[in-house]
Subunit: 224 residues, 2 copies
């Protein structure tokens, strides 16, 4: 009995859901409001923010927190569909990219846009335009870097589908829900994104809706 | 032939050096000035910041970046002295704590203090007092959290020495060099720190000096 406490437009929560689905491991979910979490939830872990997961192991109940920690736990839960395939240098490159998106991408770009737009919707008020502008400028640079990687390799971290794809996709898909990704100028990134969007592990996430925010028409379209 | 590009008071660089020493794997080092890195160095990886490592593998040369990615690469380099011991839930807790220090601790506390004080020394000028004050207040909270963990477990992530100890120690030791850790009020954290300080993997780091900054007398003292 494995339960993920999540928010649908949180990149890390999306990554955990995709990781468990790729590994064919069942995951129950409980919705958390990050702007007003229940004390029962915040008491679970010092992070006090999703993603947090509880599981029942052979030695007793455990609580896990942190996107990459939970995703690697999923990966180690079964040998099927490894999320960090290859040699140890390949895993180092996958982990470098995971840290890139969870750290730099989120700090410079994704986190600014998401917190401004989602916060304004949830709490009322209007997004701070200067912050949005800063986030959008950084997002353009990160997309250029992704395009550079994708044009040099047959995939983000190489030809295999990996945890780096899952985490990068999770960040971009939250921004895409908000119509914030300038796809037109980045064909290689759009093609990579469309390939991941049609994976069976991803499709259920695309049906999630957040009250007061409707995604653009292309968001759930698997052909784009 | 494995080379780490590093800066002595960068927590991630310290963690990589300790990880390789714990694994008994040889590591050459090249000093980088983060405020004025050479183009040869910034061309190595998109991170353009230490830690960056080059290695020669059976399939050719590789470049690695990112603290946790490189430390896990070290761990996978030999089965000796595992840095993520135990079951997969134990590894999840180790990885949660690694992400905690590399992310939240650095963002809230350590990074603010280090960048203000080291930047002021390296570039001239005086540290911004409001930023230092904010970092110190957050540091006190993080130390309280560490004390809470250490008092409930026989170690940070449990009784074994792990990558979580290495990364937490690396962050604290950079701050300790600057005399920024209020040890007196946190006996359990000070005892944990002193135990790690006397490991053979750590001692060489304590001899590093940064021009213009002299550490406090207790910094290199293994009995404290």
């Amino acid at each position: 009995m494995r339960t993920l406490y999540h928010y649908p437009l949180h990149p890390g929560c999306r990554a955990v859901r995709i990781a468990f689905a790729e590994k064919k491991l069942k995951l129950n979910t409980v919705l958390i409001d990050p702007w007003s979490p229940e004390p029962d939830f915040t008491a679970l872990s010092a992070e006090a923010m999703p993603p947090v997961m509880t599981d029942l192991t052979a030695t007793g109940p455990v609580t896990l927190a942190g996107t990459i920690a939970i995703c690697e736990y999923a990966d180690e839960g079964s040998s099927r569909n490894p999320l960090l395939p290859g040699e140890r240098q390949d895993r180092a490159e996958i982990r470098r990219l995971c840290a890139w998106f969870e750290g730099r991408f989120d700090f410079d770009a994704g986190g600014l846009i998401l917190s401004e737009k989602l916060g304004a919707t949830r709490l009322g008020g209007t997004p701070e335009m200067a912050t949005l502008k800063e986030g959008r400028a950084a997002l353009a640079e990160h997309l250029d870097y992704m395009a550079w990687l994708l044009e040099r390799r047959d995939g983000l971290a190489g030809p295999n589908f990996t945890l780096a794809d899952i985490i990068a996709f999770s960040h971009l898909s939250c921004l895409d829900y908000l119509g914030e990704v300038p796809w037109r100028e980045r064909k290689s990134v759009a093609e990579w994104y469309a390939r991941i969007k049609s994976r069976p592990s991803v499709r259920p996430l695309l049906a999630d809706r957040v009250p007061g925010l409707r995604p653009p028409a292309h968001y759930g379209n698997l052909d784009f």
